[in-house]
């Protein structure tokens, strides 16, 4: 037996979105957002007050979880270097659908103050489907909460479908990703 069995090398199927319980599902999903506690940039420091007593994101039904398997939301908290991007892609792909991406700050949108850096990416949505952008450098917890409110509205109305788009256009995303990640040392499908 070769090492192939270490990772699953099979393209994921496209997912449908609907069914009898769709309304209830969306309602529940919106009110139970579990965030993977993966601090990618400077903004992760803003998440601590967001989730603790002062701003209390838990009242929105949000929780931090330690593993991508159980999480619904991936927060990109600031700039992403090439090195981090690889990990973020893997974490995102290990999350179970439906899943959402929230990007904090200017850097993921257009590079921000690192627009000319040799190592920070300029535009996150080329690589991952972002559902909500929260601008600022960095956005304060109030802003983050407002962003999550927006995410909840999107989910409630069924418009937060980045996870579906990602699978549908996986090849496009892969092409973009491979453009900057020259040495693709990851499995083809990360879950």
């Amino acid at each position: 037996m070769d090492k192939k069995n270490y990772f699953l090398d099979e393209k994921p199927e496209k997912l449908t979105y609907g069914g009898v319980f769709r309304k209830i599902d969306d309602w529940a999903r919106a009110r139970s957002l579990w965030v993977v506690a993966y601090g990618t940039g400077c903004g992760s420091i803003e998440l601590r007050p967001t989730f603790t007593s002062r701003f209390d994101a838990e009242r929105l039904g949000m929780r931090m979880v330690g593993t991508p398997r159980q999480a619904d939301v991936l927060i990109i908290s600031g700039y992403l270097t090439v090195k981090t991007l690889k990990r973020v892609i893997r974490v995102y792909e290990q999350m179970q659908s439906p899943k959402y991406v929230v990007a904090l700050g200017a850097c993921p949108i257009n590079g921000g103050m690192y627009y000319d850096s040799y190592n920070a990416i300029n535009q996150l949505d080329l690589y991952l489907p972002v559902d909500v952008w929260i601008t600022g450098c960095m956005p304060r917890p109030e802003a983050i909460l407002a962003g999550f409110k927006r995410l909840q509205e999107l989910i409630d109305s069924g418009r937060a479908d980045g996870w579906k788009k990602y699978i549908e256009n996986l090849d496009w995303y892969r092409e973009n990703q491979r453009k900057i990640i020259k040495n693709w040392k990851m499995p083809n499908y990360n879950w």
Partner: protein, 176 residues
Amino acid sequence: MEILERLRERFEVLEEKVQRDDLIFVGTTGKNLIPMLVYLKEYEGFKTLVMISCVDWIEEGKFQLSYNLWAPKQKKNIIVKVFIDRKQPNFTTIYRIWPQAEVYEREIHEMFGVNFEGNPTQGEELILEDWDDIPPMRRDFDTLKYSMEKFGERAPKSRINIRREISEQYDEWRRK
């Protein structure tokens, strides 16, 4: 300061500067560096290597390596500077004196292309994975051009609805 006198007695000191009471700069030649560091470590109490940094003097055609040492008892810093040729940036490692130097040297190698002979982990990726250009911290490296080429144009500030544009890109890509 007495320490400078003692250093002068023993080694070739090219330049010296007392910045503060507890911070001295000393310049020396490449040959003298390791004896001087050993001397400072063993006899003057500079037990700790705080860091190694590098400056690119592109005009002079030189790299400046600064070894920042710290004497915990006297509470003093000394920075030993040494210049090396920019065209052939080869130098010896000091990781046998301070094992932690290994990582600093690895980083300097990655960022400046300085080659520390004898460093066991030289050349392994530290921060830059898959780097494909000249070392990025050299002053002749055009970071903006590189960024634009690799990560794409900076999106115009006026753009509001990103989602729509991405969808267009999907469609465009599909049509190809």
